[in-house]
Symmetry: C2
Subunit: 213 residues, 2 copies
Amino acid sequence: MDTTQRTDQQRSAERRRRELLEAADRVVLRDGPQASMNAIAAEAGITKPILYRHFGDKGGLYAALAKRHTDALLSSLRAALDAPAARRERVESTLDTYLAAIEARPQVYRFLMHPAESTGTDQGFDVGKHSAPLLRRMGEDLAQVIEERVDLGPGSQQLARVWGHGIVGMMHAAGDWWLGERPCSRAELVRSLADLLWGRLAAAGDKVGGPGF
Amino acid sequence: MDTTQRTDQQRSAERRRRELLEAADRVVLRDGPQASMNAIAAEAGITKPILYRHFGDKGGLYAALAKRHTDALLSSLRAALDAPAARRERVESTLDTYLAAIEARPQVYRFLMHPAESTGTDQGFDVGKHSAPLLRRMGEDLAQVIEERVDLGPGSQQLARVWGHGIVGMMHAAGDWWLGERPCSRAELVRSLADLLWGRLAAAGDKVGGPGF
DNA sequence: TACGATGTGTTACTTGCGGTAACAGGAGTC
DNA sequence: GACTCCTGTTACCGCAAGTAACACATCGTA
């Protein structure tokens, strides 16, 4: 087994792995997150044990699948975050990038975030272990950018992390709700969220009667 | 079957139901969300079919279980939100109420929000369908309070809803991260989040070099 | 007192999933 | 030709959800 051959084998294995992931992608996007290993194997034109040899278990397959989409999303967010522009503009552009992504591929989004929406027997992918990581990674990324760019005085690192996770959570929850109800345009949503971050809640006056919220 | 007897039967059924829910609670809090129907039945001292007669299916049991905790949490949040105090104080007190709740009973919290953290075969409760409702209800509640109390000018209803869901998401994500890492005290977290909502991100200066985030 | 209706409980089963042996070629290597 | 991997299969195990069919008690009624 010389080096060349080993490389060939590795290449072949990687190609196979990609093919399997693409098949899994198709099935998951078609059948939802409760797609069974059997179904995925069938879509790929093979049988279960091969999947298990490649991915260990269902969680491994899921993780591999999630990583692809997650990496893609994170890198586009990072680009928006790093663009040369004023802070407000960047915030809006990042929000918009995220919302555009979930709007464009809601199936992928639902897979990553709400995997357990099974229509059948609830044998869904275990998303709990994996949706959190996406949010966490986004939160940490954002925290890093905030800490690098914004002057927050003492305790800035911790503050940045709280804000990173908080802002990501805000974006996520609002996006999730918006995706379900579509109560307004994407641009309006972006603007509303940016306004919130810009302190409009604190600046607004009370309504008549009582001390106000 | 006269009225008296019907009432007796109903009473008995309701009592039984409560007992079953309490048993389910114990098992879920002990074994995590992957608790099997068999295990719950055993804890209650009966067998599976009775559970199914009472709750229809596993999702029904879950929903009943979740409703109890959800209602309790929502009512305490509502109290904090409706207290007679200045806006900032209310916001902080509501955040603190939520965080105190998840801190005090992390098992319940994890059950409601991250049900799929199974250690075994991932046969967990289907939480995806139910964690969202809790967040949604919190978001709608908050939106309602904002709209009632804060003067936001035209488009206020929509703005309030966006903010309601966004703020709840912020609180949730930050709380989830904080609960896992405990990077600071609860009071510090509350203060940091309130500062974020009060526009400190927009007000902060840039760090040296570049246009800043 | 015998009798059917109703609610509570059981055992035993089916179905369907994740996951795993154990076996069957095929392609290079000594 | 035997040896070793790699890819692929069939056939199975274990386990959990959910269901059918049966058994016992209780109680109003003829």
